[in-house]
Symmetry: C4
């Protein structure tokens, strides 16, 4: 099995809900929620991908040759590459019958772990959709990041405690899920989080706490005030609000406001080694990749996840070689240029 087999398998298995397009850019699946499209016009998803193309890379191969090392230190561990699998939940609804949230997370978390990286896992209703993935993370010595929904403080703390028991390396909350009214309809409402509520949740644990779903400087500063270890610049893949900016567009202003005070992750449209390089050059500490891991899991299970991870990792190393960046720290702003 190679990566192209993974994609071909995925195309057969997933069918309508994700067309496994040559370029995963949100056009063919516009508005397909459930499914893998962006909300409404789909422009939140589409713009993520389009704006990444406007970051150009400065090639320069005139430098002293040496080894390329794409590893990073994070959460007290070393990761082979500076990118992670993003949390994906509700996979039966969004991709199809081939996986439960637990089996999906098992492939993602174990594949990433074996490839030297880690996966974020999801949360939902019923409890099993949180616990199942959590147990999987436990099985890979805690090397995964459970991502809880923006519950009320008490429920959030309860879920944080469940994560602590598996010795996870960090915990995240996708605060931009606050608008998913389907949770309220099922009797378990989600809430916007104030600095106060976040403070209480963060203070309840020693785990590094990551706030996922920040698109503004103001939002980033609120997460920082609440004591977050880091944020994930994310528009939830364009699935919770139409017509947002792309994540790569807002990254520089957030980096300027918060760099060094919190870790800054990003997701939204990242597909290739060049994409990872661009985010790092613009100041991100790490990148999350979502939909392509969905394809990798459905089309190749744990093995597909490894193949995709290694492919993107090798692509990143190739870009580093072509730009004279021998370590991740060498990937500076001067190595890219934003056009248009």
């Amino acid at each position: 099995m190679d990566y192209s087999d993974v994609r071909n398998n995925a195309r057969k298995i997933i069918g309508d809900k994700c067309k496994v397009c040559l370029e995963c850019n949100g056009v063919a699946c516009r508005g397909q929620v459930p499914g893998m499209g962006g909300k409404g016009s789909g422009n939140g998803f589409i713009r993520n991908v389009e704006q990444l193309k406007n970051v150009k890379i400065h090639m320069d191969t005139l430098y002293e040759s040496g080894n390329i090392d794409a590893s990073i230190e994070m959460f007290g561990r070393t990761f082979k590459y500076p990118f992670f699998a993003a949390p994906i939940g509700g996979v039966k609804v969004n991709y199809g019958e081939g996986h439960t949230d637990t089996s999906y997370s098992e492939a993602a978390a174990k594949g990433c772990y074996e490839a030297g990286t880690a996966a974020f896992t999801g949360d939902g209703i019923p409890e099993e959709s949180y616990i199942g993935p959590l147990d999987v993370v436990g099985e890979v010595s805690g090397c995964g990041i459970p991502t809880i929904k923006p519950w009320g403080v008490e429920e959030a703390i309860r879920k944080v405690k469940l994560a602590e028991k598996r010795n996870v390396i960090a915990i995240a909350m996708d605060v931009d899920a606050a608008g998913l009214t389907v949770f309220a309809k099922m009797g378990k409402p989600l809430f916007p989080q104030s600095v106060e509520s976040l403070k209480k949740i963060i203070a309840s644990t020693q785990l590094p706490f990551i706030v996922k779903g920040v698109m503004t400087v103001e939002g980033a500063l609120k997460a920082k005030d609440a004591g977050a270890f880091g944020i994930i610049v994310s528009n939830h893949g364009g699935r919770v609000l139409d017509d947002t900016l792309s994540t790569i567009e807002v990254l520089p202003r957030i980096v300027e406001a918060c760099k060094g005070e919190m870790k800054i992750f990003i997701d939204g449209g990242f597909r290739k080694g060049t994409d990872i390089f661009k985010a790092l050059a613009l100041g991100a500490d790490g990148v999350l990749i979502g939909r392509p891991y969905g394809v990798a899991v459905y089309g190749g299970e744990k093995e597909g996840v490894k193949l995709y991870t290694e492919k993107i990792g090798a692509e990143l190393e190739d870009v580093m070689r072509m730009t004279g960046a021998q370590t991740i720290k060498d990937i500076t702003m001067e190595k890219v240029e934003i056009v248009k």
Copy 2:
């Protein structure tokens, strides 16, 4: 019946004159006047829709949770949402046999009223196309805004007086109809309105008077000087002059010149809750929606109007929830960003 039934019905009933496109953007109907297209190249209509896409929304769900209230006070009444049905006349010619101007307005005005908003109604030749809709407004306790053509002063005042008798909440004049030479050919010419002529008409009534069809700061200031209660920033859906700017582009400059001194409404390409939010953020006090209400009336009568109104209202509330705007006043300029 749900909203998708409304659209499917409308597609069958209207047929050629409006294709009820997935995205109502003026492309398929370019130049179809009569019909629902923009004049000439159709770019006036098309640009309205396109430029709205360049206003991006800042998602931020980190705030103290609370109730969302999208209501506004206007004309001494409370409306559930800050948008209205725009006046549409000549429906037989532009949409087809399914409605007279009176039956169209009945569906629009009553549907809006029951949904907690209001409709603007139209004017034309013969007299019935003004009186019929006017009577409908009377039946919903005057909760509608008759919109007269730019007649000579005497005729205009006569029509204002007819409206007063129905206790309407306000009256409007679409001054950008001045170029419709078909009225002159039928013996009832329309005229450009000077500040002096507008002053006389406005002075003749206690009703709030709204000047519809303003695209420049100069035009807005003239309407203000004439004593207008408000203006509607509008290019008549691109149907009276080709190659104008879009309305959303000229809104900020007009807001800067007149905000607080007159009410500023806008129409032109507004289709979704996100669109309403964008106009309010850029300073509009209210939004008019045109063509989608045509689809709603033809495809679902009064019920279709209610369904569409509630759908857009709910979308607006969703955007408010995703941006931390709990009341309409919270929808400020900082919540959006114009790109390109």
Copy 3:
């Protein structure tokens, strides 16, 4: 016969060489020289049309009503509209057998004359292609502008003298034909014109002399120094050099440098009343229209030319009405805005 008959006839008669497209924009005929396309990539033609779309018109119907008058004074005469038919030569090669240069010019010059405007006529090899059109101009009391090629001084003066005998209102030279090496191959070379050579030619006559084919401020100043009555900002419809700017783009800088010292005409992509309005607003004294008159002649002869002229004239008056411009002098820069 109406204008749509003219277009349908033309489509049948011309066939392959010009497709009489719905929008005459240079795309379908890219690179077709002979034929009516732009040279090479065709981008010189295409950009003329595209950039005109970026000039937007400010609608304002709040003004004191009055008569609309689109006439101009030029060459000591009054013209009903501020636009003219551009010179088109070699019609057998470029359009097809339906016309000789003489019969083409007869339809163009007489149709324009009867509609209250005038046509520019062409030049070429053999002599008949200059003399024939010249005689036609003589028949309409000299109301036409012969346009000679950039010959050597002696030959140019000879052709000017021939024009004087027909009492023409002015004479032009399309200096941008200098690169047409086909003339040299037939033994009658064309030349770039120095200020000195132009001076000699212009000094040889009392006729207003117009330099056609200027795209730079430097070129305009050279024409002025040589004593030209006016220039025509033109890239020869994109037919002599690929990848130039559009004419509407360079108009403002040329106007800024020369306005009031010479008449400034323009051609290139003008099709509609809105287009004429835009050029005048940006400072042009008059506009030439080329390819659409080719369609008018082939599809409707003299009558087609009249119909097209009246149609565009009425469109221009309509734009004037919608912008509060009651005379051509009222069409000022404030009435348009360049976007992008």
Copy 4:
């Protein structure tokens, strides 16, 4: 045989690997490596072509007529035109069986030589792919530029010495091939070149040494510090790194930093006389053309190369005539304008 025969032949002979498109712009062959496409998304190739379109040419035919001379002095010789055939290697893999690297170079080098210009030749594994083309250059009195891969210093110097024996006019190294890991897999690794390693190689020979594959000011300055005679601004046709800027975009900044201190060549998307003119106007001393020479060789052998060279040369002279540039030195920055 004319040039259109050459293209038709090439289309038959090459088949799938290059479609010999009407416009050679990288779209149809996106990502086809091997084959002639750009790497990954193909955007490096595509942007080269697209950005050239944004350089517009100022037409001006008002000047004193005279002879057009497109020749340049370079490497102590006179060339009829300021452009050269770029090195293309691995032709069996990338184009198909019709040629070996030697027979390809024979057609290219001899065709260019006979047309008054010169070809760059390639390098590779096995040795024959370097020696064969080298011998061809020897046969045209050394009038060609062998282009070696970025080997280690010792191997590079060995290959330079082999070139010296054929009295070549100059030697180049495509340093941007450093990322081609396929060479390492075959036991002959390529390396990024430091200023120190380049210095050693350059110091080993009296031949003018050209560094090919520079995309940044920093890279250009390093080449200059190492003693290079010149650089070629190149992204390797988009084949070694995805999502770079286009070469024409970075040319002005490199010219500003280094003009007059080194020769500055450029390649990437140059197809037509207008393209050559644009690069010269923006400061290049010469231009390399790649893929179109591949088509010329496969479709017409040496004769095809001559035909294409003469065609582009004539086009360049035509642009010079239309802009008043009578020698290459007259092609200054004022003659073009970058739009968008």
